[in-house]
Subunit: 575 residues, 3 copies
């Protein structure tokens, strides 16, 4: 793939007339471009043609409700207010940066055309984020408004889609391949060098756009600690520590508060930047984090302090499990059906998040005294865990790009499912029997396997997702306490204490690092690049031009052959 891009990118310099058409140029635009090309118009004029299409007709300011104005003054956002006020020079600078390029290579300018809005001089507001806004705030975009009004009967997503009239492709969800093509890294969150994004890279985006679903990982980390600190003082095997139940109460309250705050913010994101949420939902890795808030709720129910409530109503369990079951039906279905999100392609340790909910749910249900429901989720979890475990262990070449090459904190998610499963089974069975032990020992082996490699870990670019990688450690500690209740001796008790200590220290360390990033470095929420990737490969338009000239028809299986064709063409031209 890489080579292909490089070959095609060289071509402009060889063929001055050549026109790297706008990536969003389809349908009408293509015709314009072709006619322009046929008439051999001077390049500058060509640019006018194409730009005039991708530009919005009139640059009158938005009138509709503008979310930015709220969040610029919001609690958590400190810099975007400043940014938006100083937007004019920045935008100018952004353009002054782009323009020389386009004068040097006449066609480059058109390539920039994939920013759907060319900011005009008189606009004092950066409109480049409008694409991701649910209500884009432009009266003059009448087509979208009309269809917005008509669309009331339609589904919500349809409403949103209508807001993207200019970039028709965005009506469909971004294909999974685009994410794989454009991004890299264990969390698919780093933009590849060759790619460009839809939003400005050089300025800080509105807070809501930078706020990812993976923020809920913090809730997972803290609420699982609440469970640990509920188990420690109440377990027979750790009674000798004479710990108070208070840390549980404190942690639980923090967790509840955190979850409420984070959920509210995300709700606002859903309301105001639905497209961004949608793009997170279609991101092959991020989708798994959509389980996080619901798992956190289960954790809260499991870790509820005895002083607050002793017996939760079974109905709560059914309510909490409904979203998890729905998400599972969606995601496991994607794995199995032959689409772009099939398992052999997206398999990644983060998938454990979509499995572990089953076991946490089974554990909670069994703790509440339910029987059939917990077994149902245990069975579903077991079947899919087996599939995932085998797939991840195999390291299929097809999902090589998604699984990190080096060891990475994400691998700790491997410990989560078997340790929670062992506790769940123990609850279902009524005792920590052989089945539970098998699960527990698998978790221990995986933990040990990671622990001995701890100095090989390469994942030092902090991200909020790391919080998700702490709850498996806490889970393993909790499972060890349960196990040491069954097999009480110095070794198991020491192990339980040691693992609890490690888990708590890790969470504390992560807490400090997070605070550091939030308040000192102020980069806890960097620009969320993965949601802004372009929906078209920036290198492909080239090829389309080539095709139209040489009559190479098929669009799909142009891969390697196009490389060679371009390559050899270059040579011919040189001759």
């Amino acid at each position: 793939m890489e080579s292909e891009e490089h070959v095609s990118l060289q071509t402009p310099s060889l063929n001055d007339k050549r026109q790297p058409t706008d990536p969003s140029a389809k349908g009408t635009e293509t015709a314009v471009l072709e006619s322009a090309f046929d008439k051999s118009e001077p390049p500058s004029q060509q640019r006018v043609h194409s730009v005039s299409i991708s530009m919005t007709p009139s640059p009158i300011k938005g009138i509709l409700f503008n979310p930015e104005s709220i969040f610029n003054n919001g609690i958590l956002d400190s810099s975007s207010a400043a940014t938006s006020s100083s937007i004019l020079p920045e935008a100018a600078q952004f353009h002054s940066h782009a323009l020389p390029k386009s004068s040097a290579f006449e066609d480059q300018a058109i390539q920039i055309g994939h920013f759907p809005y060319q900011p005009s001089i008189e606009s004092s507001k950066d409109k480049r984020f409008d694409n991701f806004k649910t209500w884009s705030g432009k009266l003059e975009r009448q087509i979208s408004l009309v269809s917005l009004l008509k669309g009331k009967a339609q589904r919500k997503s349809d409403q949103l889609e209508n807001a993207f009239v200019q970039t028709t492709d965005q009506v469909d969800p971004l294909p999974a391949d685009r994410y794989f093509d454009a991004l890299e890294g264990p969390e698919l969150d780093t933009l590849k060098a060759s790619e460009e994004i839809l939003l400005p890279e050089d300025k800080q985006w509105p807070f809501l756009l930078r706020y990812p679903i993976s923020s809920f990982s913090i809730c997972l980390g803290v609420s699982s600690q609440a469970i640990l600190w509920k188990t420690l003082p109440t377990s027979a095997s750790t009674k000798f520590l004479h710990l108070s139940i208070k840390p549980n109460l404190v942690l639980w309250c923090i967790s509840v508060a955190l979850l409420v705050v984070l959920a509210c913010i995300y709700l606002l994101k859903i309301i105001f930047y639905f497209e961004a949420v949608r793009r997170e939902y279609f991101h092959p890795i991020r989708i798994n984090f959509f389980f996080a808030p619901f798992i956190a709720l289960l954790f809260l129910a499991l870790g509820v302090p005895p002083s607050i409530c002793n017996n939760l109503h079974p109905a709560l369990w059914y309510i909490l499990m409904t979203p998890i079951l729905s998400l599972e039906l969606k995601i496991y279905g994607q794995w199995m059906s032959g689409g772009q999100r099939r398992l052999s392609k997206v398999a990644n340790p983060v998938n454990h998040l979509s499995i572990v909910g089953n076991f946490v749910g089974a554990l909670l249900g069994a703790s509440m005294g339910l029987k059939e429901g917990p077994i149902f989720f245990f069975a579903v979890g077991l079947a899919h865990y087996m599939v995932l475990f085998v797939t991840l262990y195999q390291r299929l070449p097809t999902n090589e790009s998604v699984i990190p090459k080096d060891l990475h904190p994400v691998f700790f998610l491997f410990v989560a499912a078997p340790s929670v499963a062992s506790m769940a089974w123990a609850r279902i069975q009524g005792s920590f029997d052989y089945g539970s032990r098998i699960g527990y020992f698998i978790a221990m082996f995986l933990y040990l396997s990671l622990a001995v490699r701890v100095n090989f870990f390469r994942g030092f670019k902090f991200s909020l997702a790391w919080w998700a990688y702490t709850f498996p450690m806490t889970g393993a500690a909790t499972a060890t306490i349960r196990y040491s209740n069954e097999v009480t001796n110095v070794a198991t008790q020491a192990l339980a204490v040691a693992l609890s200590l490690i888990a708590t220290l890790t969470v504390m360390a992560l807490f400090i690092v997070t605070l550091l990033h939030a308040f000192v470095l102020q980069d806890l929420f960097p620009n969320d690049i993965p949601i802004a990737i372009s929906d078209r490969n920036p290198n492909k338009p080239h090829r389309k031009w080539y095709q139209s000239k040489h009559g190479n028809p098929s669009d799909k299986d142009i891969d390697k052959s196009s490389k060679s064709a371009t390559g050899s063409e270059k040579r011919d031209l040189e001759i």
Copy 2:
């Protein structure tokens, strides 16, 4: 491998004397073609050359026993008699269709050469089916006859092979790759556009040739209904419906009759068209349907009406399981051994048919009071089900072509194994324990997962195989009744009734559709394309010829290097 060939194939354009040899040109033909080409003979004469080789020496009518004459007057075949009488004009038309082609492109004629028999004008009988006849009915084909007589000591398949003296390749079973190359669709039953078949496409074949092994699916569908209607009236949880046992008796009798009739017809196919059976047996998907008659027998034993027999003799179980075990040894062995039929290549939901027999057998054996045998089959089934489940869920890119892209009724086979396994384990254990429930709940989740996607189903080209996709629904209904016996409450009872209803209605709907196809549309048994695929890729010679002249490769399996080679070559020519 391909690419290597292409490298050498480029040379012709550089080296005009070189000859784009025919891939099907082996042995004698190669010599003929080469001499023809070297002498620059007119194209028509070339054709004579090649045709003279593939044609049978003398066109005297068959004398040996001709199966067609029987089945043209058979019960189920209404149209083939008419067809065979009007064979002369049709054959002519078939040829008039082929001839212009060959005059247009001189070498095309050679490609047609893979029809082993060129029907001659004076023959009033279409001899093109002889290839698939066990006794081909041609006195003059002495070589084959002699070897036929000699071959009495040989295996039966050897006899058949001798009938293919002209096309020596057909002596070996068709390689699995040919099926994948030539066919497409979820049941690998649609011919690809580029492929040609050995039998005439434009006329209806003899009934036996059109009668596929998948017809036994009907038995599976009906006999599983017999079991459901035996379970419904006799279960404690569905006692409240006050259903009669009579439908069970009726359905069971229908099933027995159906199985006997279908088996007899298939037996005739084995006798008269052994090559067709052999090609079904080597078809990667069809092979699984060879389990169907034996699973149907197990279903009959399970659903036997109490009025007929209450206690089956254990010996019956051993007799019924023998063919299943034999087939499994064959097929699982193919999966594991490194041949063309290895699992990573042939994995497909239809494989569930080759797994489910184990669980049905275990269920029957345990119902009969056996112990070790059922556990044996349960263990074998479990191990291989796990392998298949993981493989299908992974959707390896290697078997992408076999698993349907869209949702398709075949996916319902996913429900079969776990639901039958749960019943089998309940019988073995003596109670519907946690193990059984895990199996049952996995089945339920898969069912639910399909049910929520039911409006995405794309498989509306009816085929007899659909009957096989109904028995999992019946199995799930039966398992639910068993489960509701254990956990009796309104919810489980309602679920049991609902699932039974759905299963019965589906079978009824399918019954009507089948009748419609059988009597109104009269296309219940269309030409069975998959068994008639050519044993040679028709595109390979073409491509070579075509490439050397035009340099545009076109097809699917043109590797990367060949593309580039051709691409650059094109440029050279332009220069």
Copy 3:
């Protein structure tokens, strides 16, 4: 890959000046070659250039301790003493064989340059083995000596690495890809035609270099027989045979003696030829045989005659399991981490050796009365066995090269894990319950599956590793005896006796064959080719030449594009 080679291999004929450069030509050599090429020096001079680089500066004899002198007089080695005395003519002959080649094709000579030591006339000792010696015995190689002395604080492997100053690449372990590229066969022990090795192929190497880790397979075979012959007389179901316990004692003593002798020899190999051990350790198949000595120890503990000891101390179990756990952490970690030794690449039936230790350990531990430890290993074994079983059954195309195409004795390893696991679980549970039976029946099915194919076996090139393939049969026999204790009837007793007989006869047959190879054919320890493969691909230099000319820098991502480039370049040159 193949196609690439072919493209480049054709080029010489088109371009006579082109030079198939030395595969080991990197760094300085490349410069030499290029200068040679640029100046169009006569070929003979080119050779001098390259040889002068790869040759060692001065050929003074080794002074340090020389292991060869010991083992040439060793017990098991009969021929190497003679060989080393007659080294002069052989070396000469070796060169006289190489030289004509190089005069015929001028550049071939440079390719020979990868033998790090060009034996000089005055040296009466073959120095080509020095590469693999821990102490290479060359005073003049001062750099290595100095660093050897300095390296005392370093790890042992570092010491060794310093011995390879000339061939700097060998400092790093050989990448797994090299083994796959250079070797073939089910045990990756046959050199591919295109490859060359570092050690002389035409003479017998020192015994220690020829002594592979797979020799420990013999211990596995014999000690498992000791267990069988302990089980046979002491089991209730086989009491009727009235067998003596004496064969157990005899076999056990032989096993102990064998293990001690083999271990001592291997210890010497570790001391004197650490590089050879290291290369065995990095060999994707061989690594699994490192489990063999430890599994043999477990077998000895299991098969200890009652007359010697009745109750082993539990501490023994912990001692024995430590190396197995360590190896597992290493190897399973490699499977999962994304390196070259990931499971989808190295999966092979021999991997069963790295799984079965868990079950043998669990069996031994449970027999000793331990509880938690055995379950731990059982759990670890179960999880990884599942992964391996699925992976092997799938026959992923990525590990196609490692799994034998035909049936091969190695497939019997499939039977080992489930049969031992069933016994282990029976011990842990206290009875041969359903879980044990599932394991046992899976083993039986796999055994049967292999037995019916026994006449397809293709693996008649005897190797010591075959001994490893006998212990699964013995394990299956022992498991059958255990099973027949539970289900005692004529059938199970007959099966137990039959399987025991088969296992014992197989071991006896193998014993005879081994003796035959050891004393009659004297080829029990042939040159151990896999450890001597060159660390560079002899076919790659081409590309390097191309790169150095055209400035294509990256070595890794030369894939399809490079092919096409070469292809089109060829054409350009023609033009």
